[in-house]
């Protein structure tokens, strides 16, 4: 049972101070209008406002039903549309920060680390640029993803998959973590396969108002299918693997190859982990033959789980087509949690740093008028890919070997 840790006066002062600073920082950016807001969010808001309650019965924009329901609720707020969008996203920034701290606790982080992480998430540039400058809603689905990962690490699988469904219903990018759950199930067999079916009720939970408003049950899927074909290019403003080869917004004919490559890389990762698992079983059998009781299920370190989930998301955003600059949002946040929970991770810090800076530069070039040359962007893509390779090596060579030898990291395992 986890020991409840006491909060001290200094902690309260810090939490209040950092929350206030994070709030003022967001308040300063309240009037920033992004291209996305002007072209999409504002017209959606106006249409939904005109339609009122009937808006749930028709598709407005290309976001899924839960967010459309959120927009309808925003129209009842006594706020300008811009502020309403930003307010909702910023509230989720704070919730995300709290959840990140909680997750760090589950992973074995200290109380100080958890509290500091709360502040770090609030100040993390990608977080406040996305919500306060851009009025985007990536904090919402990432919040649910963190809830999902926390529940999963606590071995509450049904609840975890239900929440994963909720995350998926808000944004399709939540799907990047699904390979991790499949891999974890195949590798460690900690729960029954049917528990995955909890994703479905979760997926529909926030769609209920819209379905009652007249939408079909298949609509939430239809919206995502439409999204995958609506913008078609090998990459957009993201430092993906394809950024080294092709300019943004081109070469959609490569999309299928990109999907195939992504699946292949994920399969290779799975194969590597499976071979490690086989070695584990062999080692377990040898121990059993010597008279010791064989373990039914060898423990999987929570830290290794986090590493693997990071790797799965990274693989998806790196190799899949159609990637926009903010699609690595959940990856960046999970890496932040990782930073505050790993021990002796000096070699991984440059990798994390390159990942964050590359992603930040893309935010800047896409929305903040950052002058950035094409050559430098290609170099950034190269560095991003190199960082991914290093992370893969550390996961599959070093960590997997550590895990096989039974000397799993003590923290969080």
């Amino acid at each position: 049972m986890e020991k409840r840790q006491r909060i001290h006066g200094r902690d309260v002062v810090f939490i209040l101070g950092i929350s206030l600073i994070g709030g003022i920082l967001r308040f300063i950016l309240r009037n920033d209008i992004s291209g996305d807001y002007r072209a999409f969010l504002q017209p959606w808001y106006e249409t939904i406002q005109q339609l009122g309650g009937k808006a749930l019965g028709v598709q407005v924009g290309d976001y899924n039903l839960p967010y459309q329901t959120f927009i309808l609720m925003m129209t009842y707020l006594p706020l300008k549309p811009l502020y309403a969008y930003k307010l909702v996203s910023c509230i989720f920034d704070y919730l995300l920060a709290v959840l990140a701290g909680k997750l760090a606790g589950i992973l074995g982080g200290t109380r100080y680390g958890q509290i500091a992480l709360y502040g770090a998430v609030l100040l993390f540039p990608q977080v406040w640029i996305d919500s306060a400058h851009w009025a985007q809603c990536d904090a919402i689905y990432t919040f649910w993803l963190l809830v999902c990962v926390s529940l999963y690490l606590k071995e509450r699988y049904s609840a975890a998959f239900f929440v994963l469904g909720v995350a998926l219903s808000f944004k399709l990018q939540a799907i990047f973590i699904v390979p991790f759950f499949l891999m974890a199930w195949l590798l460690w067999d900690r729960h029954r396969f049917w528990k995955f079916l909890w994703i479905l009720p979760g997926f529909y939970a926030f769609c209920v108002p819209a379905i009652l408003g007249g939408r079909k049950l298949t609509d939430p899927f239809g919206i995502y299918l439409n999204q995958t074909t609506e913008y078609s290019a090998i990459r957009f403003n993201f430092p993906s693997f394809w950024g080294m080869l092709f300019p943004a917004g081109t070469h959609s004919d490569w999309n299928k190859a990109a999907i195939f490559l992504t699946l292949s890389v994920l399969a290779a990762g799975l194969w590597r982990m499976l071979s490690v698992r086989m070695e584990q079983k062999t080692a377990g059998g040898m121990t059993a033959s010597k008279g010791a009781e064989p373990e039914k299920s060898l423990p999987l370190g929570r830290n290794l789980m986090l590493r693997l989930s990071i790797w799965c998301i990274w693989t998806c955003v790196l190799f899949l087509p159609n990637m926009h600059e903010r699609y690595a949002y959940s990856l960046d946040i999970l890496m932040l949690v990782f930073l505050f929970t790993i021990n002796s991770g000096e070699r991984e810090i440059p990798v994390i740093g390159i990942c964050w800076l590359s992603s930040l530069v893309c935010y800047g070039t896409a929305r903040l008028e950052l002058p950035y040359s094409v050559d430098l962007f290609r170099l950034t893509c190269g560095l991003y890919f190199a960082a991914y390779l290093l992370q893969s090596r550390m996961l599959f060579m070093k960590q997997a070997r550590v895990h096989t030898s039974g000397a799993e990291e003590t923290q969080g395992s």
């Binding site: 982080g109 200290t110 100040l123």
Partner: protein, 294 residues
């Protein structure tokens, strides 16, 4: 006599800088109780560079001691070279910890006014030292030839990010202060980290700001017990990058290589992150010895 008077007036900053520099090097050596000749030579070379560009940065090292004398030096340093204010958060945290804020605060303001006395006597405004600092800040651009994190986020003309940058710095310092106050970060790490954070994240910087950090890291390097390699890497990189910035800003290079500049900033930010991690790593390792760095 007139010639001597003119020389003193014209070169008062230089003379004051040499005086501060000498005092600080002496104070650091006495504090560290060590006299490594190699580092003394390196320090001398850096001091010459510092004098060439800005004098006051040397005084920023005085904050290590957090007593009235060091705060006096720090005040004077901030007057001569406002980037030396990067040492202010550490000094503030230390004086607060030792409950010396009234004495040290007063000493700081006396130090801030002392070099400005000739100007005030020559009918300058009483608030001249503050006005001078405000004048010094480059508020036409969020960053300008300095190693600024914001050059990886936005264009230099995006002035609305000035306040965002200040808040972000305050927030980061608050996180650092929190971990430091609960005894999870070593003193020496905190000193270097706060200065670095200020110089990397604060807006309206100048090319020569990095020298302040070079001096602080050099000071820290005298007394560091472990992670010496990291400190020396930081020192080397900061010096190299600052010289590169100075060359670009004042050295007569006609075309500013923006790509190279952004790469330098990226490298700097990356090293800052490594340094931050090394600092907070002590949050997980409850090693009592490691929190007693200096």
């Amino acid at each position: 006599m007139e010639v001597v008077r003119m020389f003193i007036i014209r070169n008062r900053k230089l003379l004051f800088g040499i005086a501060i520099g000498g005092m600080v090097v002496l104070s650091i050596m006495i504090t560290a109780r060590s006299y490594p000749i190699l580092w003394f030579l390196a320090g001398s070379i850096l001091m010459v560079l510092s004098i060439l560009w800005r004098m006051g940065s040397m005084g920023s090292m005085g904050s290590v001691r957090a007593d009235w004398l060091s705060c006096l030096f720090l005040g004077a340093a901030v007057y001569c070279f406002p980037a030396a204010g990067a040492a202010l958060p550490f000094s503030l945290a230390e004086t607060a910890k030792k409950r010396r804020i009234p004495v040290c605060g007063a000493a700081f303001f006396v130090g801030l006014y002392l070099p400005g006395v000739p100007q005030i006597v020559s009918r300058r405004d009483f608030f001249w030292p503050f006005g001078r600092i405000l004048l010094w800040l480059n508020r036409d651009n969020v960053f300008d030839h300095n190693l600024s994190f914001w050059s990886l986020v936005t264009g230099r003309e995006q002035l609305r990010f000035g306040m965002v940058a200040v808040l972000m710095t305050l927030g980061l310092l608050l996180i650092g202060w929190y971990l430091y106050s609960v005894g999870q970060v070593r003193r020496v790490d905190f000193l270097v980290w706060t200065a670095w954070t200020c110089l990397l994240f604060l807006p309206y910087g100048h090319a020569e700001d990095g020298l302040a950090l070079v001096w602080i890291v050099l000071a820290a390097d005298f007394v560091i017990l472990r992670d010496r390699r990291l400190y020396q890497l930081v020192l080397f990189l900061e010096l190299a990058e600052t010289l590169f910035m100075l060359g670009s800003a004042y050295g007569g290079y006609e075309r500013f290589g923006y790509d190279f500049y952004q790469m330098a900033v990226g490298l700097n930010a990356l090293l800052w992150l490594v340094f931050t991690y090394k600092g907070i790593e002590h949050s997980w390792k409850k090693d009592k010895e490691s929190t007693e760095g200096m």
